[in-house]
């Protein structure tokens, strides 16, 4: 059957007309118009805060738009709440899964659509339907497993199954690959292609341009609440999309020259961490970083990255040895805390800047001094701090790091994610560290600021600082690091020179598959 002809004659599956939405003074969506055809995969890209998620939440009935109309399959529908959206055949897979963790898969699937007072009929019905769906779309998952026992990839399948169980014809996926390994992401894209072949309409929200290029038919770009363009994917390219997102030309990959690497600056040997529940989070991790070198730690979130950062940053205790320029420093007990790390010249940009890096209800100038506030430059004498001078220092650093607005007397919570991150970077880099430990430097940061932050990290490396970069974004690892180590299940499962490896090789390592080629570990060959 030639469905293509049908598509063009019929009304679009989804049509948005003049959607606007404000939260107080912030206009999240401004007069958005969009048409998506049945059976197509439509991508929506945009920076953080561009209004993508708000728009989809309106379509799913989570928020109500101030103005505008929604047509589903040519029919005007007033989506007042999620119930109406579900009735209209819209299903949504949220970025943060909306699952009840101590429920089984089946219980989660039927929740909200039980159809009868007793739940047993629905459970039985779902069990049959799930096995059908599993074979049709390769969405296998054990129906009796508890959600908390499933991997993230499987939890996501449950979310998709939930939508399909509600007979969704339209599936909205919000940043679905953020928590997946490359292999899991590929599997997801295959599922999406199958779904679209069966006539489901799919909207994919993402900030990863590569995903847009590989899986979508059409793509819309959002910027500051407006939809700036809708294009056919085959007629565009990542560069164009990035420029539409940011509103100016951007470098997708930072320029990086080879540098002379120096002596080993940071050496870590047999680092192990056991968390409070007695679970071993890191097992005998060893690596080193030389002066003027960036070592990237890749891996899927939750494989020990947090523990590694906290152990090195002096936040939580560990065993093993850690040396800075040959001098051993304590990993637990006395002398192992965040301040003494800084005394040794180790700066730490934590992965969760809002929790560990900043105090959101304090001013920018106060945050600029945190952690170094005992130093002479911020104090008048032994008793009094020099607030005036601290404000001046903050003003200078904020200008230097292009932090907007450049006003020290502004609460940190009023800055955007990118600017908050720049405040942390300004504080840590201006102390001229010997070693920089940085976790997820661009998480939740917009493209324009990513470019700036990456450039700052490269500049620091060129000045001879040893940098440990922990990131779950493989693209970031590739564009910044000189060497890559992959963390899996608390162990370093492999190490490669960035230029000599590729995404599929690292992807296998991230999934825990060690290669059997018997190659010499890279670490040995350059040590």
């Amino acid at each position: 059957m030639d469905t293509k002809v049908q598509h063009e004659s019929a009304a679009p599956m989804i049509e948005l007309r003049g959607i606007s939405k404000s939260f107080g003074p912030v206009q999240a969506n401004k007069n958005i118009n969009l048409k998506v055809n049945k059976g197509s995969i439509h991508g929506i890209v945009g920076e953080n805060g561009a209004g993508k998620s708000t728009l989809m939440s309106i379509l799913y009935g989570f928020y109500k738009s101030d103005l505008g109309e929604i047509y589903i399959n040519g029919e005007h529908i007033n989506i007042t709440d999620s119930h109406v959206a579900i009735e209209a055949g819209i299903g949504m897979v949220h970025q943060h899964f909306k699952l009840v963790e101590n429920f089984t898969v089946l219980e989660n699937v039927i929740l909200g659509t039980e159809n009868s007072f007793l739940i047993n009929p629905a459970l039985n019905n779902a069990r049959v339907l799930l096995s059908d769906l599993a074979s049709t779309y390769s969405l296998e998952v054990n129906p009796d497993a508890l959600i908390e026992d499933l991997s993230v990839g499987h939890q996501q399948r449950v979310e998709i199954l939930k939508a399909l169980y509600r007979q969704a014809d339209i599936l909205i996926l919000d940043e679905p690959t953020g928590v997946l390994t490359p292999a899991e992401a590929d599997h997801l894209f295959n599922i999406l292609r199958n779904l679209s072949k069966e006539g489901k309409t799919i909207i994919l929200i993402t900030h990863k341009l590569k995903e847009i290029m590989s899986v979508t038919d059409t793509v819309s770009v959002m910027r500051r609440g407006e939809m700036t363009a809708t294009l056919e994917t085959s007629k565009t390219n990542p560069q164009e999309l990035a420029e539409l997102m940011v509103g100016r030309s951007v470098l997708l990959r930072v320029e990086k020259d080879a540098t002379e690497v120096g002596d080993k600056s940071l050496e870590v040997h047999n680092l192990s961490v056991t968390d409070k529940r007695g679970v071993t989070a890191l097992k005998n991790v060893s690596f080193h970083v030389r002066k003027g070198e960036i070592l990237g730690i890749a891996g899927v979130a939750g494989n020990g990255q947090t523990e590694l950062l906290e152990a090195l940053g002096g936040i939580s205790p560990a065993t093993g040895t850690m040396k800075i320029d040959g001098e051993e420093i304590a990993l637990h007990g006395k002398g192992s805390d965040a301040r003494s790390r800084r005394e040794y010249g180790v700066s730490h940009v934590p992965e969760d800047r809002q929790k560990l890096g900043l105090i959101l209800d304090f001013f920018a100038w106060e945050n600029i001094a945190f952690g170094y506030h005992h130093k002479d430059e911020f104090n008048k004498n032994w008793l009094l701090m020099d607030n005036g001078k601290t404000r001046e220092i903050a003003r200078e650093e904020m200008a230097k790091f292009d932090i907007r607005p450049p006003t020290p007397n502004n609460l940190v919570k009023n800055f955007s994610g990118g600017n908050q991150q720049k405040i942390v970077l300004a504080r840590e880099l201006e102390q001229h560290p010997k070693v920089l430990i940085v976790g997820q430097p661009t998480r939740g940061v917009d493209i324009g600021a990513i470019e700036f932050i990456h450039q700052k990290i490269i500049d620091l490396r060129d000045k001879g600082v040893a940098i440990l970069l922990v990131s779950v974004e493989l693209d970031e690892i590739f564009s910044l690091s000189d060497r890559v180590a992959v963390l899996f299940d608390g162990k370093i499962i492999g190490e490669r020179i960035t230029e000599e490896t590729n995404e599929s090789e690292l992807g296998l390592l991230m999934a825990g598959i060690e290669d059997g080629s018997g190659e010499q570990p890279v670490m040995e060959s350059i040590a």
């Binding site: 989570f62 928020y63 999620s82 101590n102 909200g112 739940i119």
Partner: protein, 322 residues
């Protein structure tokens, strides 16, 4: 200690556990839905007062029960209003309800009856009377099993049987019905319920009102079944003991029954044996025996009986994130 004494202690255990079972299940409904409720005590007290007052005035215990349930459910609705609609702090709202009930019952009681906060003693149709099971007299003569029927099971007021039946009913409602599935879900992850197209607020209001209803039954039983009238602050911490039992029971209906029976048992022992003399140790004072339920409460709340994981979304008002 002979066999009949044991049966009699167990009999008074059932009698003393009933208000705890009501309050504990009340808390279970509320907390399973994500609304913490330390106002169980206040709701029981209000129900105890109004049931006794109306029963005294009208001579009908059933009208009294209706009044008690209404009072308790009004307080429950206030708690729901504060913590669901206005997203206030659930602990503070609960404390406020306890103070409100304690002060209000004493004040109104004095104003109406001039008996120092008491209500007049109830008699006849003004209170719930024991129900004798058929043939209790003759079956009681059967050795061993007979007394279980005639002494232990027979001879309680209707509310004791209601309390015991509420336990399996709660289990069935929670684990076998749509309402129960949603109720358990909303206490764990309200977003899952919301995105499933189900109203979080409506679910929680229903849970809170069920909580009010059960507290009301517990309170009415105290004043019109167990005692014959209302006395100032007669709940004496039962609402808090019920909360401890709920934690002990890890928010499960069957365990809640066992926990409440344990507390009831301790109370029954304290009433039966005013002074226990143990050879070579001396006499255990009655005050110690009476304090036992409260000591056990502290032990449980201090987490000395293993880890109890409360419903994950408990205590947090549900606010849609942007």
């Amino acid at each position: 200690m002979d066999y009949l004494t044991i049966i009699q202690i167990l009999d008074s255990m059932l009698r003393l556990s009933a208000p705890l079972i009501f309050a504990c299940l009340a808390g279970l409904f509320s907390e399973r839905s994500g609304i913490f409720d330390i106002g169980l005590e206040g709701k029981m007290l209000a129900s105890a007062f109004f049931s006794a007052a109306v029963a005294a005035a009208t001579g009908s215990v059933w009208l009294g029960l209706m009044a008690g349930l209404t009072a308790s459910m009004i307080l429950a609705a206030i708690h729901g209003f504060a913590s669901i609609t206005f997203q206030g702090n659930q602990l503070i709202s609960g404390v406020a309800i306890n103070f409100l009930a304690s002060g209000m019952t004493a004040l109104i009681g004095q104003n109406w009856f001039r008996l120092g906060g008491r209500t007049p003693s109830l008699s006849g149709d003004g209170r719930f009377l024991p129900i004798e099971f058929p043939f209790a007299e003759s079956i009681g003569k059967i050795p061993f099993l007979g007394p279980i029927y005639s002494e232990l099971l027979s001879g309680h007021t209707i509310l004791v049987y209601v309390a015991l039946l509420t336990v399996p009913f709660t289990w069935w409602l929670l684990f076998k019905t749509r309402f129960g599935l949603r109720l358990r879900a909303v206490g764990e992850n309200p977003e899952a319920v919301d995105t499933g197209g189900v109203s979080v607020s409506f679910l929680r209001y229903r849970a809170v009102l069920i909580c009010g209803l059960l507290c009301g039954l517990g309170g009415a039983y105290l004043a019109t079944g167990m005692a014959a009238g209302f006395i100032r602050d007669m709940t004496a911490g039962k609402g808090f003991i019920a909360l401890a039992a709920l934690i002990f029971a890890k928010w499960r209906p069957a365990y809640a029954l066992y926990a409440c029976l344990l507390f009831g048992f301790l109370e029954a022992i304290a009433i039966r044996y005013q002074n226990i003399t143990i050879e070579g140790v001396g006499t255990i004072p009655v005050q110690f025996m009476q304090a036992l339920p409260y000591i056990l409460t502290i032990v449980i709340l201090a987490g000395l009986v293993g880890k109890a994981i409360p419903p994950k979304a408990g205590g947090e008002p549900y606010v849609k994130e942007r």
